[in-house]
């Protein structure tokens, strides 16, 4: 596919504390109007998310293999035709142009390479940090594009990372309860 337009898309997927959050993906459109997506996501879902879920070959839990990278595994990318029934298909998703014309074709090619490199880095998927939105924006950054985020759409993980937490994830000591010495 040789896109003549690349857009950053934001699709509403849920609410946290009453605030709608959005999943980002990229959409390439060629001269004939055919569209393809590029998205990031987790390698797997945590056990609690798939318990009781039935798949083509039976209980999803039976097929589940825990990843050494954590409950969500590593960041993965996928792409394919953007059409009804597809994973991110959303006719009311917000969009922002990223590139047009020759620049779009070059960017699309570079994005495939950036996605492959990011996947090869085996980065643990963190749903509230380095997750799908972070990965997509990181792929764009690695292609020399610093996209503007879509206004009024909260896309967790897509903003510039904040400073390192003063206390790290392992510091789970509770106030006044117990302490690991």
């Amino acid at each position: 596919m040789t896109p003549v337009r690349v857009e950053l898309m934001a699709s509403a997927v849920g609410k946290i504390g009453g605030v709608t959050w959005h999943h980002l993906f990229l959409l390439g459109t060629d001269a004939s109007g055919k569209q393809s997506y590029l998205r990031a996501g987790p390698q797997c879902l945590p056990l609690e998310s798939i318990a009781g879920r039935l798949e083509e070959f039976g209980d999803a839990l039976e097929e589940h293999e825990p990843s050494p990278a954590g409950p969500y595994g590593v960041i993965t990318f996928s792409s394919g035709p953007y059409e009804p029934g597809g994973v991110d298909f959303d006719p009311v998703a917000a969009n922002a142009p990223v590139a047009v014309g020759d620049a779009a074709a070059k960017l699309w090619e570079k994005l495939q390479q950036a996605a492959a490199v990011l996947e090869a880095e085996q980065i643990s998927y963190d749903p509230v940090g380095k997750g799908a939105n972070w990965a997509l924006i990181e792929a764009l950054r690695r292609c020399g594009v610093q996209p503007s985020l879509l206004p009024k759409r909260w896309t967790p993980g897509a903003a510039k990372p904040g400073p390192d937490p003063i206390m790290h994830d392992s510091a789970t000591r509770r106030l006044g309860q117990a302490v690991l010495i």
Binding site: G17, P127, V128, W154, H168, A171, T172, L175
Partner: protein, 113 residues
């Protein structure tokens, strides 16, 4: 070794005082305020953190810093309300709530500047 709180209180009654001092130290890095003002801010923040159901030290400290950053940035009321909503989300673990609250604030503070 895992020590329960009663045992701990018997030989380390300063534990919470140490954490409170650590919070004051962290807040002090955000601006030039008197020690008294920082202590009052920490105490208010600790009460609010408890009301939000935050009990892990990392979550409480991250919340105090987020609250300070929000107070300094004076964002629109809608941003403050949204962050409060995220921090109060009952379906998520406390550490995720605080990190997502930070994320929302960072994203929408940036969008305005």
């Amino acid at each position: 070794m895992f020590v329960e709180d009663e045992q701990l209180a018997a030989f380390a009654p300063w534990l919470d005082a140490q954490f409170r001092a650590r919070c004051a130290e962290a807040l002090g890095t955000r601006g030039q305020w008197s020690d008294e003002r920082v202590r009052r801010a920490v105490d208010t923040g600790l009460q609010r953190a408890a009301a939000l159901g935050l009990s892990e030290e990392r979550s409480v400290l991250a919340y105090l810093l987020l609250a300070t950053d929000i107070a300094l940035a004076r964002p629109e009321d809608a941003v403050v309300r949204a962050v409060e909503g995220i921090l109060s989300e009952p379906a998520l673990p406390e550490w995720q709530r605080v990190r997502l609250g930070e994320d929302y604030f960072r994203q929408f503070r940036e969008a305005r500047s």
